[in-house]
């Protein structure tokens, strides 16, 4: 069916022609009380940590980069991966990951793609936003920030700066709305590890995506 | 204050004691009660089965019978809910009847709502030393919007032991003609309901609707259980001290 006929059928059922102007609205988005909530930075960090931990995620907070790198080093030693996948671009440099990752085979998104990342046990990325209410981290796709970085490997480590943590999803959605045409093809909200309860209601982790999520807060 | 009794056809023909208890309680509070004989049924059996015209004809008996009444009170959340929730639509666009329906809606109350919200009574001074479970009728709660009025009345009864049971808010499986038309499903539903009631070790199950209680009682007797069922008005009336004079 062609578009005009399809839409005309709807208009006809609604008893008018298709409106040319945006329909006026009394109600849009979340209730006022919800939008007016505000929290201090420290409170947001604590809430984010508590929520993500409730979802089985691991949260580590660091005073500075060197503490983070030291922790990463020992974590990777425990995990003992063969291959680690990381965001491309200047991500490695930004956090000076090179030395810590040097014992492992490292693949970077952009130089490599899906096939290389399919065989990576661990991935390390940043994120665009985090949401305290729901323990959520938001990924936005780009040439160097592949979507698969967050879903193919078994363990996903996310490095985020505390100023990226927002209170509600609404704040993040407003940012997306303002991006207009520059909105990336994929915006991916992650709250904890991949899970399913489809086998006799028995919850199991890591069904398709990562089984372990670790958030590093700087 | 004058109240016209809307007994409902179920109570009139099968459970007249319930209406009697209600009348005697209202009488104690100085309410003048009358019983307009023209009433039969709210029309719900036909309406819920899809027979709208038939339901309307029967519902008219109530509009006529109660047109002069000050208040109308019924021992049923379901029949009262039928009036409140569906009569406006049922009579929409019918001259005279439309107005009569609106008048009836505005003055009709379910018994516990009338006691608590109109008379302002929660403590009748009754005593009922038994383990009592309460089944909220679906139509009372969801169609009519009864909140905790029945429980307020129960909680003020002396020496009553309230017991809870799981899924109290789930339907017992009555559903009017549903219990006839889909009797297998309805039977499975009432079986689960009585299981919970029996496990609660209640001696008496109380509700505001005889439809639910008739269904649950039927299952309890079939299973030869000891639990008795009673309408809220019966429990309150039985618990009242004998009147002097």
């Amino acid at each position: 069916m062609d578009e005009a006929a399809f839409l005309e059928r709807i208009s006809a059922r609604l008893g008018r022609s298709i409106p040319e102007d945006r329909p006026p609205r009394n109600v849009q988005g979340a209730p006022d009380f919800w939008r007016q909530r505000s929290s201090g930075a420290q409170e947001l960090i604590l809430r984010f940590q508590a929520e993500l931990e409730k979802l089985g995620g691991q949260v580590e907070r660091f005073e500075d980069r060197s503490a983070m790198l030291a922790f990463l080093k020992s974590l990777l030693k425990d995990l003992d991966p063969t291959r680690i996948g990381v965001w491309g671009g200047n991500f490695m440099d930004e956090y000076q990951l090179e030395e810590v990752l040097s014992p492992y085979e490292v693949v970077t998104w952009g130089n490599q793609g899906v096939e290389a990342f399919q065989a990576a046990e661990v991935s390390i990325s940043g994120c665009a936003f985090a949401i305290a209410d729901t323990g959520t981290m938001v990924m936005m796709s780009s040439e160097t920030h592949g979507r698969s970085v967050a879903v193919l490997p078994t363990v996903h480590i996310v490095i985020l700066r505390q100023e990226q943590i927002h209170g509600t999803m609404g704040e993040v959605l407003e940012s997306l709305s303002q991006m207009g045409r520059s909105l990336p093809a994929s915006v991916h909200f992650i709250s904890g590890a991949s899970r399913s309860s489809d086998i006799e209601n028995d919850q199991t982790i890591g069904i398709h995506g990562p089984a372990r999520i670790v958030a590093f807060i700087l | 204050m004058k109240v016209s009794l809307f007994t409902t056809c179920l109570v009139d023909s099968l459970f007249p004691n319930v209406a009697e208890a209600m009348v005697k309680i209202l009488d104690r509070y100085g309410v003048e009660v009358d019983f307009p004989h023209g009433q039969t049924c709210c029309g719900q059996p036909a309406f819920n089965s899809g027979y709208v015209d038939e339901a309307r004809e029967v519902a008219k008996t109530l509009l006529d019978a109660f047109d002069q009444s000050e208040y109308v009170v019924a021992p049923s959340g379901s029949c009262t809910g039928m009036i409140h929730h569906y009569y406006a639509d049922l009579f929409a666009g019918l001259p005279d009847w439309e107005d009569k329906a609106e008048r009836l809606i505005n003055k009709t109350y379910e018994f516990s709502q009338f006691m608590v919200n109109v008379l302002g009574v929660t403590d009748l001074g009754a005593r009922f030393p038994h383990r009592v479970a309460y089944h909220p009728s679906c139509h009372g709660a969801r169609l009519l919007g009864i909140k905790n009025e029945p429980e307020q009345l129960l909680d003020h009864i002396q020496d009553i032991q309230r017991v809870n049971f799981p899924h109290a808010h789930d339907c017992c499986g009555f559903g009017g003609t549903f219990a006839i038309k889909m009797s297998d499903i309805s039977g499975a539903m009432v079986e689960e309901k009585t299981k919970h009631v029996v496990e609660s070790e209640a001696e008496v199950l109380v509700s505001t609707d005889m439809g639910c209680l008739m269904n649950i009682d039927g299952r309890l007797r079939y299973e030869n259980q000891k639990v008795q069922v009673k309408h809220l008005a019966e429990v309150l009336y039985e618990g009242l001290p004998a009147e002097k004079e």
Partner: protein, 478 residues
């Protein structure tokens, strides 16, 4: 006997009878429904202001559906600006044709799918398989159901009716070696097998939870992450969406991101909320290169402008009404015999497919209203069930005996003298059946009732006959 699907047994009563005999099914359905509704209860209580959120949800959906043409057009324009393709399908047949055309153009041989009720509605799997295309469902529950050759029995938990033993057997037949009934082992097999399917699939098919009009974004909710695999890895992504899935803006999405997961599974948010806006951008190394959105009417527009049923298009497919439904609880999803089970299915199915096929479904309800109470957008499902019953009666598709019975009811109950006489007569007639104040074994319409319970008897004197004497004993007189 564990469940055998009975969805294709033609008669509703036969299907319910089969379901009621299936003890495993009933226990599993009860367990899952209880778990989901308990979680919903606690998550909405923790959240607070639930009624305010519900009203917000209702108002946004009502506004959107009242202006669906405007917002759908805006959505479509936005999708095209990002480089996506849009197809319009007035019915299932046209939607299938669109899918098959894309499949042919892409010379596709394999398709991976994430859960989509619309794909069930148009039975796309059957058509793809007939054309020799491999189709793999990738939601774990859907995968299990597909291997069993069945259909989902719950909107959110498709394999609610399967035991782990059965799943082990299905996975073993699908090539699993040394499997046990341990959840981890079974899930591990699915992860490994499905990962291979994702990587080699030519086309990914998903549904669409919400389409955001302002940006042309498709929003998907999953817990497993399979929708991300389906949208990230194959070169072509087909979205099947019901035309009413639209929300005007991202701001509105916040409301539904709060309502949907809580109502569906009692989660604050599902593990993944994925937003796809157009095909992959220049330079991107994953994500579909071509995006096709197929927008389906299939009976939906018929509900627009109908004051009795338009609100059914507000539904966000959360399944909360199933989890509280005392009928669904007893019979499970397959007994409804339609793609959409439970209370929402009992309304949606006869509306989308007019005709005799589903017109009995609205009678599979005690009209208790629990569905309305649970609905996050306040659809008056119980009222719609009554209206659909009236529609069926008006259409004349009812038994003569039933028509006569209600004509009789009207005749008797429309005048108090005839009514009183009927009680008196009934009282005499019941003599032969009554025992200790009950009818223990009835016949005719009472037979079904007395199969599982006793029936009460008409009392010697109805209240109306006692009134005169009673009124004389009252203190309060005018």
């Amino acid at each position: 006997m564990p469940s055998t699907t009975n969805r294709h047994t033609p008669d509703l009563l036969d299907r319910t009878r089969l379901a009621l005999q299936d003890d495993f099914l009933r226990a599993a359905v009860r367990f899952t429904a209880d778990r989901l509704r308990d979680k919903k209860q606690s998550s909405t209580e923790e959240f607070g202001h639930w009624e305010e959120w519900r009203e917000r949800g209702r108002a946004i959906r009502a506004h959107t559906i009242n202006h669906l043409d405007y917002y759908l057009k805006q959505f479509v324009d936005q999708v095209r600006q990002t480089g996506g393709h849009v197809h319009f399908a007035k019915d299932a047949g046209e939607a299938v044709t669109s899918v098959m055309q894309i499949v042919r153009e892409k010379k596709a041989r394999s398709v991976v799918k994430s859960k989509s009720m619309v794909s069930e509605e148009i039975h796309i799997n059957e058509h793809l398989i007939e054309a020799g295309i491999e189709v793999v469902e990738t939601d774990l529950g859907e995968y299990i159901v597909q291997l069993a050759g069945e259909t989902p029995s719950h909107i959110i938990i498709p394999a609610i009716h399967k035991t782990r033993e059965q799943i082990k057997t299905l996975f073993t037949n699908a090539g699993g070696e040394h499997l046990t009934t341990d959840t981890k082992v079974l899930a591990g097999f699915a992860r490994k097998t499905l990962r291979e399917k994702f990587l080699k699939a030519d086309i990914g098919i998903t549904g669409c939870n919400f389409g955001i009009a302002e940006s042309g974004t498709v929003v998907l909710y999953t817990n497993e992450g399979n929708a991300d695999m389906v949208t990230n890895l194959p070169k072509t992504h087909i979205v099947l969406m019901g035309m009413e899935r639209i929300l005007p803006s991202f701001a509105d999405l916040e409301v539904f991101a709060n309502l949907l997961p809580r109502s569906a599974t009692g989660q604050k948010l599902t593990t993944y909320m994925s937003m796809i806006t157009g095909p992959r951008r220049q330079g991107d190394r994953d994500g579909a290169e071509s995006l096709h959105i197929i927008i389906l009417d299939n009976g939906r527009s018929e509900q627009l402008g109908d004051p009795e049923f338009q609100d059914i298009l507000h539904c966000i497919r959360c399944g909360a009404c199933l989890n509280v439904c005392p009928v669904y609880r007893q019979i499970g999803g397959h007994a409804y015999g339609s793609v959409y089970p439970g209370p929402i299915g009992a309304v949606l199915s006869p509306l989308l497919y007019q005709g005799k096929q589903y017109e009995d479904l609205p009678f599979a309800s005690s009209l208790c209203g629990a569905c309305y109470e649970a609905c996050p957008v306040k659809i008056p499902i119980h009222d719609m069930l009554v209206r659909l019953r009236a529609r069926k009666v008006r259409s004349g598709h009812v038994a003569k005996a039933e028509q006569l019975a209600f004509r009789g009811y009207k005749m008797i109950f429309s005048h108090h003298r005839r009514y009183r006489l009927a009680i008196k007569t009934g009282r005499v007639l019941q003599e032969t059946m009554a025992q200790n104040g009950y009818i223990q074994s009835g016949f005719g319409p009472l037979a079904g009732w007395t199969e599982s319970r006793y029936a009460p008897t008409l009392k010697e004197e109805p209240f109306r006959d006692k009134w005169e004497a009673l009124s004389k004993t009252l203190k309060t007189k005018s």
